[in-house]
């Protein structure tokens, strides 16, 4: 009998639909781009050809030239160097937000989904409340009250983003909890914490991780937006959002100075979103979630 069974090793009714999409051209480019941004963020000052803060008052609002590849801004600062160094604030703040929200959101989501009952009701009420709050506006108002700063904004955004992660993770957890493999673990006597960590989490991790990339992208946009409004980084800091607003007046003189930082924001966010979507689809084959 086992000989016959051996022959049927790969014959299953639910065919193994390999959802693992090959690393397409677009996604590869996204990875490369993000990699470049990371490099710029970490090694910014080393890579910039000129001092981003140095003002060349003779060459104010100049067009791109061989000396200044992207021209200069209203204070004569080299735009290209500022763009490179600006990757810092575009990367680290969102990174902290994404990771912080991921950690807290996963813990809360798993708790709410697995235990249900009062704990879940409480957490969900809070999530629902935060769901309709426009994050950026809250940060603007609070910044208006207590004074604006980049890292305060980051801290506030972490708190405001946790509900979104929580909701996603809770939803995924709720799908798993009634499944027989979880119930079998319960009847065997596997402790709750082990079930959550070793059974449920690996099966929902793809959703949680893909979501983090999307959170990163939206945090990047939010922080850049705050700086654009003057409520983020302090004036003078090389930051894509701030540059966008500082140089808006230069649209007639040196439009590159304002368009390039804006494009960098858009491209980085797009790249992160695409990577997140791709991860979502390619990891979806694994685990019980699809």
């Amino acid at each position: 009998m086992s000989a016959v069974i051996e022959r049927h090793l790969d014959l299953t009714r639910h065919d193994v639909r390999s959802r693992r999409r090959r690393l397409g051209l677009v996604v590869s480019i996204c990875f490369l781009f993000v990699g470049a941004v990371v490099v710029m963020a970490i090694f910014g000052p080393l890579l910039a050809p000129q001092d981003p803060q140095a003002q060349h008052l003779a060459l104010v609002s100049a067009d791109p030239s061989s000396a200044h590849w992207l021209g200069t801004d209203a204070l004569g600062r080299d735009v290209f160097s500022r763009v490179i160094v600006g990757a810092r604030t575009a990367f680290f703040g969102p990174l902290v937000i994404a990771l912080g929200s991921f950690t807290l959101g996963n813990v809360l989501g798993l708790l709410a989904g697995y235990h249900g009952g009062r704990v879940d009701a409480l957490i969900m009420r809070w999530v629902d409340l935060m769901w309709s709050i426009p994050t950026l506006l809250v940060v603007i108002v609070v910044a208006g009250a207590i004074g604006a700063s980049y890292w305060w904004a980051v801290a506030l955004l972490v708190i405001l983003t946790v509900p979104f992660d929580t909701r996603v993770v809770r939803g995924a957890t709720l799908e798993q909890v009634p499944r027989p493999y979880v119930e079998a673990a319960k009847t065997l006597g596997v402790p709750g914490r082990w079930i959550v960590v070793r059974h449920i989490w690996p099966n929902i991790s793809s959703i949680a991780i893909a979501n983090t990339f999307l959170v990163f992208a939206s945090s990047l946009v939010a922080l850049a937006g705050l700086s654009f409004l003057g409520l983020g980084v302090s004036p003078g800091t090389p930051d894509w959002g701030l540059m966008l607003s500082e140089n808006e007046t230069l649209l007639f003189a040196n439009p590159i100075a304002t368009i390039v930082p804006g494009v960098m924001i858009a491209l980085t966010a797009t790249a992160m979103n695409l990577v997140g979507d791709w991860l979502d689809e390619s990891l979806a084959g694994r685990g019980a979630t699809r």
């Binding site: 426009p134 950026l136 208006g144 966008l244 494009v263 858009a266």
Partner: protein, 321 residues
């Protein structure tokens, strides 16, 4: 129908009560901003004006600063109900006047953008889903991702550059006067504002339609030879609308946020720009008023979305299987 009717009314009633409660909670938070700010409440309210015993006394009287916290809150709430939020610390003019003068502009912008979003968003999303996998679909998905990722202030600047600076089709800033003038001035901002919202709606509409297209009841409808029109309206649209309505609350929030950024980008004298100005200048009374206003708008809009959802899906009220 009447059974369902009464159930719906009860649910709406309950939600209204919840809404009022939420508004009260938010108002408490908004009121506390005065005390969140670093420094003395008086200093904050003084703004740039010099600090003299006379002005201090005047402010203390005007804002009842020597009363206990909750008393102050209550008085503030009473005033707020009568739309009196005090005076701006920047201009010393009454807050409500400033708001009133800017409200029409923001409203125009918001409605303009909303119409664009709904018409284009749902239309394109449905079309893309019906022609799944085709050129249109792939194009739509691609553009959507980029559009969602491009913040409105970036798109705004780019559009401003292309259409206003280079091509000169639209004015560069301001809100214009008269209907035609306003329309012309606010087109670029409205389009920018609509861009991200549209992408969001397209994505969800497409997903909603795709979800419905695969369902058994659609197959059964085709199997009975029903016309394409009937299937589209009674089967696809009717069922796809349900998930779309549920995201409309989020869409509205993002529209409001976007409006703030867009107004700043295009120098439109609306409430959003006022909000940012007030935040930069720490004009607490102004911030309080605008925050409360926005909070009420969002809560009411969410309530409306909930009501539409109740009406559209018979399973909610009458019980799921």
């Amino acid at each position: 129908m009447s059974e369902r009717g009464t159930l719906i009314l009860t649910l709406i009633g309950r939600r209204l009560i919840a809404l009022v409660a939420l508004v009260v909670i938010v108002s408490l938070g908004v009121f506390s901003l005065l005390y969140l700010a670093p420094g003395n409440a008086v200093d904050v309210l003084l703004g740039h004006r010099p600090r003299t015993p006379a002005t201090v006394r005047a402010l203390t009287d005007q804002y009842h600063l020597n009363k206990p916290f909750l008393d102050q809150y209550w008085i503030w709430l009473e005033h707020a109900a009568r739309l009196n939020f005090g005076s701006s610390t920047q201009t010393s003019l009454p807050v409500s006047e400033e708001i009133r003068s800017r409200l029409p502009t923001s409203l125009f912008l918001g409605v303009y953008a909303f119409i664009l979003v709904v018409v284009i968003g749902v239309g394109v999303g449905a079309l893309a889903a019906m022609r799944r996998g085709g050129l249109l679909d792939r194009l739509v998905v691609g553009v959507s991702v980029v559009s969602v990722s491009t913040p409105s202030f970036v798109a705004g600047v780019v559009l401003l550059y292309v259409f206003a600076v280079r091509l000169g089709w639209f004015p560069v800033f301001g809100a214009g006067s008269g209907f035609a003038g306003t329309l012309a001035h606010l087109t670029l901002p409205a389009v920018t504002l609509a861009a991200a919202g549209t992408a969001f709606v397209v994505k969800h509409t497409r997903a909603a339609f795709l979800g419905v297209l695969d369902q058994d009841h659609v197959v059964f409808a085709k199997a009975r030879g029903l016309s394409a029109t009937r299937i589209f309206f009674a089967y696809l649209l009717r069922n796809a609308v349900i998930p779309i309505v549920t995201i409309s609350g989020v869409m509205l929030s993002s529209l409001i946020v976007g409006a703030v950024l867009v107004e700043v980008t295009f120098s439109v004298q609306g409430l959003g720009q006022l909000l940012v100005q007030s935040a930069n200048a720490k004009d607490i009374p102004m911030l309080q008023c605008i925050s409360l206003l926005i909070a009420v708008v969002i809560l009411v809009a969410n309530l409306l979305a909930d009501i539409v959802y109740l009406l559209v899906d018979p399973r909610i009220v009458l019980g799921r299987r």
